[in-house]
Symmetry: C2
Subunit: 140 residues, 2 copies
């Protein structure tokens, strides 16, 4: 991994006061994913293809890459667009680590090209907002 | 216009306690549009093509259709997708009417196919949220 490559990765980490099992449910059950992320037809099965759909008509094309219950979840996060600046081919990986107070959640999104600074900047902002909503969902 | 066609249109109306000139600025100045809607390279010129970009990578393809300062703004709101259920070709029209207390804003989004009930339902929800943010932006 080169320094250039690292610059194209967005990493968001947060400590949640809930056990990994509870976070895992929020990351893998479609109706819960919808509550903090987007509408979806997700299934926790490697190779499963699904879409994430924004309220306003945008759609991401995704495929599950890795599923290790309560530990790791990884899927592609792609958006095909004729304008290269907006054409996004990325991979999102969630890593859950149990802590004394709950769970440390790490989200890594890789695949931004060096010229896609707006996309990676938007992702940084977006994931913070998604994590805020996730916290609210977990409190219910 | 048939009843079927009406069923494919989302209309959101709200009264704002600000004059039409102020609302018009929020609808047409890129840095203000970004604050309540999405990142963009909008310009209030018929024929201008631009993109609206969600934080998470989704991108809409748009083209300005009509500009009547302080009164009417219309643009396409398209999202090309290979899955017909997610392929969206719509037109958004804002109509501003002065009232005694400010401005009546009407947003009409047309073009949803009858089978795109998820897209039109999402738009209904999404525009309410966008209008909520617009209210906050106008208070600054």
């Amino acid at each position: 991994m080169t320094t250039d490559h690292k610059a194209e990765t967005v990493i968001i980490e947060r400590e949640f006061a809930h056990p990994p099992e509870k976070l895992w449910r929020a990351l893998t059950q479609p109706h819960l994913i919808e509550d903090w992320l987007m509408k979806n037809d997700f299934a926790p099965v490697a190779g499963h293809k699904f879409n994430l759909r924004g309220e306003w008509g945008g759609v991401l094309d995704c495929e599950v890459l890795a599923v290790e219950p309560h530990t790791t979840l990884s899927y592609t996060w792609n958006h095909v667009h004729e304008n290269p600046a907006y054409d996004l081919r990325s991979v999102v990986t969630f890593t859950l680590t149990p802590t004394s107070g709950g769970t440390h959640l790490r989200m890594e999104q890789t695949g931004f090209r060096p010229d896609q600074t707006q996309a990676s900047g938007g992702a940084r902002f977006g994931w913070q907002a998604f994590f805020d909503k996730l916290e609210t969902v977990l409190l219910r």
